[in-house]
């Protein structure tokens, strides 16, 4: 009797680990391959804007070494200011791909760094799903973990940031986030210094990778705080949090970009406060065990008040003294969603900083968004230390995702985990076969399987309270007995849902998130052939080949990283929007008349101006459509020269046709976009100068450029590059002959032959030895 279950156990354990391994492997492969749409449809290429900077920085690091990278002063960005890249970047991404590159080259595998960068995010999505599995397993069960791992492998909310080619911090940061949480939960469960040190290390990686580490350093203290309030203090908590906090603090300060922020900014103060609180609670607990009840109560009230007041005063004083910086604007806009729109137009102008629509929750998460509250409910119903964590994670992530589209990303993992819990709970109930007959044995085996698993995989497990409860609940449910028909109907329905989820994920990935955005493709409606618009690379390559190496290119900041990455030319502003006034200056140049902007451009040594113009092909993301942001940002810094209202018609419309505002029709951006467009007939019947993006015939057709000349325009006119003429190259606008003569003034010279010398009336006469006469 003793031997058989053991053998059975080891056999079942073998199968279950094989199944686990197989499912995780398949999840990895599925996640990897569903991110390859863009590579297969187009090519292995870096997407969009920010990834181009990351790629450029990585290539620089691979070429020049780590220390040169840390000290890199990029004089090709933010001309004439330059940018200290090493100290203003989260280097985790570059280190990761640089490390992979180094390893492969040591093994004589000559993979180009670009391919490593392109495929980094898909590879890391597999690691993310494994760490999600581990975390969910800690929180609930292995089955739920497998569900969660499969969900996160293909869920669009995460794919949107991790398709092949989208080489951005988020790609590796979500892995680091999940892995840190897993290690944290495990360290809370075990109270082991080892796990909390591991959590701190993983947190270090997260800090090096993404600014979203602030989420961790606020969520974990929140977890500890809530546990304290719930009276769930334990020495394990004390050990794990104090280890994690101290190590994490020290580690995070090693990143040059973070530096002293963890002890000086408000974002990090909660962690410190909770640390102090935890210490206080621990001290009190200790004192409680030493002192008598009466003494303790006195001490508690007096000490608690003193400490509370002391901490509050200290924080306020430090903030006022400027030692602790108040919240940064980006962070502040998380609490007050209207803040950015009023104070920081540059943040509000980015589409991914807009509040999330209801639609996009469903679009990105599909069925999971419905199953997710069920998982939260399960977790609340059967609460324990780590489930408090996941509930807090869920609530805060939902809030942040609602504020900013971009933070959908932090919501996705927790939704996957809790949906995994929900589906796993559902199947637990409905997948128990023949429970009425073999109920006893089944439960027995299940228990033993669990134990076997535990003994293999969770050697240091401390707390089985959750599990036991979980089981007893199932016992109770199974006693009620569900008919097999109902079971199969429910299971079929669930499978259908999951299938539809998979279909939806693939569809969304393929249609919404797999466009490199620097290569556009459209299908010809007549013969169904696929045409490729490669104008961006055409223009950037032209710049890289046919302009001087030190030429300075002015463009709106969206294209800064791409110009630096693909054309390797100096830019004035780029997507690292650290200097608002410089951007405003470029905005002012774009929205002033040619003459005025020429002054700005010569003062900034601009050689070329690059504008994006979609009017020929109907590309809506062009510079004219972004133009109001330029005006707004310029107005913020130069309110005397630029007024947003000047660019609207009297009826408050923004239009480019003949009724448009004169300021708009004569500004530099308008002229550069529409130069010689007025002559162009797009089709035989239509009028010339018809803008397809704005569906209007342009208002200012016949004009010439004085200070600039067209240097290059791409095949579909999408990118237009102008050369700024040097002062000797252009004819200054001519003055009419009438205006050239100087008008005679009412001045008659009194000089005649007699009085040739001028004299000063009432001139004081100086006589030696006497005072001056007045």
């Amino acid at each position: 009797m003793n031997r058989t279950p053991k053998m059975l156990n080891s056999k079942v354990a073998g199968y279950s680990s094989l199944i686990t391994f197989a499912i995780l492997l398949i999840a990895w492969l599925a996640g990897f391959s569903s991110r390859l749409f863009a590579v297969i449809r187009f090519e292995s290429i870096i997407h969009e804007f920010d990834p181009w900077f990351n790629y450029r920085a990585t290539a620089y690091m691979v070429q020049n070494g780590w220390y040169n990278f840390l000290n890199w002063f990029d004089e090709r960005a933010w001309y004439p200011l330059g940018r200290i890249v090493g100290g203003t970047v989260y280097p985790g991404l570059m280190i990761t791909s640089g490390g992979i590159h180094w390893l492969l080259h040591v093994l004589n595998i000559p993979v180009h760094i670009r391919d490593i960068c392109v495929f980094l995010a898909p590879v890391f999505s597999g690691l993310t799903s494994i760490s999600t599995y581990l975390l969910t397993k800690e929180l609930w069960s292995a089955g739920a973990g497998l569900f969660a791992a499969s969900f996160i492998a293909i869920v669009p909310g995460y794919i949107s940031r991790s398709v092949a080619g989208s080489y951005d911090n988020e790609g590796i940061a979500i892995f680091a986030l999940q892995f840190t949480y897993f290690l944290w939960v495990r360290s809370v469960k075990t109270g082991s210094v080892f796990w909390s040190a591991a959590a701190a290390l993983s947190y270090f990686y997260m800090v090096s990778a993404w600014g979203g580490y602030v989420f961790i350093i606020n969520l974990i203290p929140l977890h500890v705080f809530v546990l304290l309030i719930m009276g769930r203090y334990s020495p394990r908590l004390l050990t794990s949090y104090s280890t994690f906090y101290i190590l994490g603090l020290l580690f995070s300060m090693q990143i040059p970009f973070v530096g002293f922020q963890p002890i000086r900014t408000s974002e990090h103060m909660a962690a410190l406060g909770v640390f102090v609180l935890l210490m206080a609670v621990a001290t009190l607990r200790h004192l409680q065990s030493v002192l008598s009840r009466h003494e303790f109560r006195k001490l508690f009230i007096v000490g608690g008040l003193l400490v509370g007041v002391g901490v509050f005063v200290a924080v306020v004083v430090l903030t006022m003294l400027g030692v602790v910086a108040p919240w940064s604007g980006r962070f502040y806009s998380l609490w007050d969603t209207g803040y950015a729109k009023i104070h920081i137009p540059i943040i509000a102008s980015v589409s991914e900083h807009q509040p999330t629509t209801w639609f996009s929750f469903f679009f990105d998460l599909h069925i999971l968004v419905c199953a997710f509250p069920v998982g939260v409910w399960y977790c609340i119903k059967q609460i324990n230390d780590e489930r408090v964590f996941v509930v807090l994670y869920a609530i805060s992530a939902v809030y942040f995702a609602g504020v900013m589209v971009r933070l959908m990303l932090t919501l996705t993992p927790v939704v996957c985990m809790l949906a995994g819990v929900a589906f796993s709970g559902l199947l637990d109930v409905f997948l128990q076969e023949d429970s009425s007959k073999r109920m006893g044995t089944a439960i027995n085996t299940a228990t033993e399987v669990d134990e076997a698993e535990d003994s293999i995989e969770k050697k240091t497990l401390y707390d089985k309270a959750g599990k036991l409860k979980h089981r007893t609940k199932h016992d109770a449910q199974q006693d009620t007995g569900i008919s097999s028909n109902l079971k199969s109907i429910v299971i079929l329905a669930v499978l259908m849902l999951l299938m539809m989820f998979a279909v939806h994920c693939t569809w969304v990935t393929s249609n919404a998130y797999s466009s490199p955005s620097i290569v556009l493709a459209f299908h010809n409606s007549q013969d169904g052939s696929r045409n490729i618009l490669d104008d961006f690379r055409e223009a950037y390559y032209w710049l890289s080949q046919n302009t001087a190496d030190d030429a300075r290119v002015m463009s709106w900041w969206d294209y800064g990283y791409q110009i630096a990455g693909m054309a390797n030319r100096t830019t004035l502003v780029d997507n690292n929007t650290w200097n608002n006034s410089h951007i405003a200056l470029v905005g002012k140049a774009m929205s002033s008349t040619e003459e005025k902007s020429y002054e700005i451009m010569t003062s900034l040594d601009v050689d070329y101006v690059l504008v994006i113009f979609g009017g020929v092909i109907g590309y809506s993301g062009d510079d004219i459509n972004k133009f109001l942001w330029m005006v707004r940002i310029a107005e913020g810094e130069h309110p005397k020269d630029i007024k947003e209202s000047d660019y609207f018609t009297d009826r408050g419309e923004f239009r480019v046709d003949a009724e448009g505002a004169p300021a708009l029709l004569n500004c530099l951006m308008y002229k550069l976009s529409y130069y010689r467009f007025g002559e162009l007939k797009l089709d035989y019947r239509g009028p010339s100068g018809y803008d397809r993006t704005r569906n209007a015939v342009i208002g200012n057709k016949d004009f010439d450029l004085t200070y600039l000349e067209e240097a290059y325009t791409t095949e579909h006119w999408l990118v237009r590059i102008y050369r700024v003429k040097k002062p000797h190259e252009f004819n200054r606008p001519s003055l009419k002959t009438k205006e050239r003569t100087i008008p005679p003034a009412n001045f008659i010279s009194r000089k005649n032959s007699k009085r040739r010398k001028g004299y000063i009336r009432n001139r004081p006469v100086v006589v030696k030895g006497k005072r001056t006469l007045k």
Binding site: F42, E43, S44, I45, N108, I109, P110, S455, K459, T460, L461, V519, I532, D534, R537, E538, Y540, Y541, W542, S544, Q545, N546, M566, R676, F677, E679, L680, E709, E710, A711, Y712, T713, T714, E715, W717, R723
Partner: protein, 449 residues
């Protein structure tokens, strides 16, 4: 030139004094100058005779072209004539031909191709202007010997001739100019021949070509050519207007919009890319015995504009490799076609042989400058693959011919790579098995359960 002339006269006078009797005379010279492209392709048919009736075995041929790229000589029986390049004297290049059969009368055809002899004039034009070029050469055959009678036919790219040297007799008919016959020219006689005419063919020069051939004994040869090219015709003056370029046919006539590259018929896996990725504007047509690749640079190449790209493809190795036991022989084109009438300033050819190749011997159809051998490490390499590299400057289409590379390679070394992979996987499994059975914890698990 004048002093040269005097010196040569003096030299030849001396020469004549010593070998007064054995005098070679060009009895008849017919030259055809093809100036339709950026290259000067001259075909010169020379009939030479020894005045003393002695058999002619050697003939010294001078060239007046400053950048002669290619020369070949055939005698009247269409046999190749040996060419020896002499040391240039005062910048004048000469060649000594050794005929296969010495006879008193020799008739032979010299073909020369020169680049950079036709220069744009004016040097800068606007986008809608036509490109005019100027050719400056010699009206006579520049020869060490006296020439009795000579005639020059010039073929131009268009009938739009602005000016040309008018030494009678001459005739012009549409795009052809016939100069001569001119009688009794002295040795080393020179007279300027200048033709100023319209030439709208794009003057594109490959500044640098790096051709890499990677040989795999698993049946594949990977060819990769990275090319830097410049439009060396008249430079674009002022602005470029896309509107004019799209609407007006006469705009940018001399700009390079696309060109054709011919690849071997068995080429597969063709890629055409630059540092920014794939260049999506190319077409591939398979013709019977070659592949025609229509390449369009990312942007039309106007005068003075540059571009760079990489073109690569794979060919099966059985077409180019021959073996005898462990001895191998590789026969491939030293350079390949890039575009019609191409001119290459500088080319470097690299041949990467499999790991463990030895006894490497290279034979080329014309002289090259050999670069030091290197080692390259790529997939699954341990000791590195030997790289044979050499360079050659000033190449034209006529240089497309085979080189031969001999080397030995033991077939057993081919097993090295599969063994390496399986060994590696085996070690990983072994390490996993061992690792899972080890216990690294520093505490005992007494508290558990």
């Amino acid at each position: 030139m004048g002093t040269n002339y005097v010196i040569y006269l003096a030299l030849s006078a001396l020469l004549f004094a010593f070998t007064a009797k054995a005098e070679i005379v060009n009895t008849n010279v017919e030259r055809t100058l093809d100036l339709t492209s950026q290259l000067v392709k001259a075909t010169t048919k020379i009939s030479a005779e020894d005045s003393a009736g002695k058999p002619i075995a050697e003939y010294v041929f001078f060239t007046s072209e400053p950048s002669l790229a290619y020369i070949s000589v055939k005698d009247n029986a269409d046999r190749n004539v040996q060419i020896k390049t002499n040391e240039p004297v005062k910048g004048e290049q000469s060649f000594t031909f050794t005929f296969p059969k010495a006879s008193a009368k020799q008739t032979f055809v010299v073909e020369t191709v020169a680049s950079k002899s036709i220069l744009p004039h004016p040097e800068e034009i606007k986008q809608n202007d036509k490109q005019f070029v100027k050719y400056a050469g010699n009206l006579h055959l520049y020869s060490k010997y006296k020439t009795n009678s000579q005639k020059t036919n010039v073929k131009l790219s268009s009938s739009n001739i602005l000016s040309h040297t008018q030494v009678k007799p001459f005739s012009v008919s549409s795009n052809k100019i016939t100069l001569g016959p001119y009688e009794n020219a002295e040795a080393f006689s020179q007279e300027a021949l200048v033709i100023h005419y319209e030439n709208s063919s794009p003057f594109v020069t490959v500044n640098y070509l790096e051709r890499t051939l990677e040989i795999s004994h698993w049946g594949n040869i990977a060819v990769q050519e990275s090319i830097q090219m410049t439009h060396t015709g008249a430079k674009l003056k002022g602005s470029f207007s896309r509107y004019d370029f799209q609407k007006e046919g006469r705009s940018g006539l001399a700009a390079l919009k696309s060109y054709k590259t011919y690849l071997p018929a068995s080429a597969s896996g063709v890629y055409y890319r630059d540092t920014n990725g794939n260049i999506s504007t190319s077409n591939m047509n398979s013709v019977r015995d070659f592949i025609e690749l229509e390449l369009r640079p990312r942007f039309p190449l106007f005068g003075g504009w540059k571009t760079q790209y990489t073109l690569g493809y794979n060919v099966p190795s059985y077409e180019y490799m021959f073996s005898d036991g462990n001895k191998y022989q590789l026969k491939m084109n030293l350079i390949d076609h890039i575009y019609d009438n191409m001119a290459i300033d500088e080319a470097t050819i690299k041949i990467i042989l499999p790991e463990g190749s030895s006894d490497i011997k290279l034979s080329t159809p014309y002289s090259i400058s050999r670069l030091p051998n290197e080692l390259v490490h790529t997939y699954l390499d341990t000791t590195g693959r030997p790289v044979i590299s050499f360079s050659k400057s000033n190449l034209v289409e006529s240089h497309i011919s085979d080189f031969t590379l001999y080397y030995s390679f033991s077939k057993i070394s081919m097993l090295q790579e599969p063994l390496l992979v399986s060994g590696f996987i085996y070690i990983i499994f072994l390490a996993t098995i061992v690792f899972l059975r080890l216990d690294f914890s520093i505490t005992s698990h007494a508290h558990k359960e």
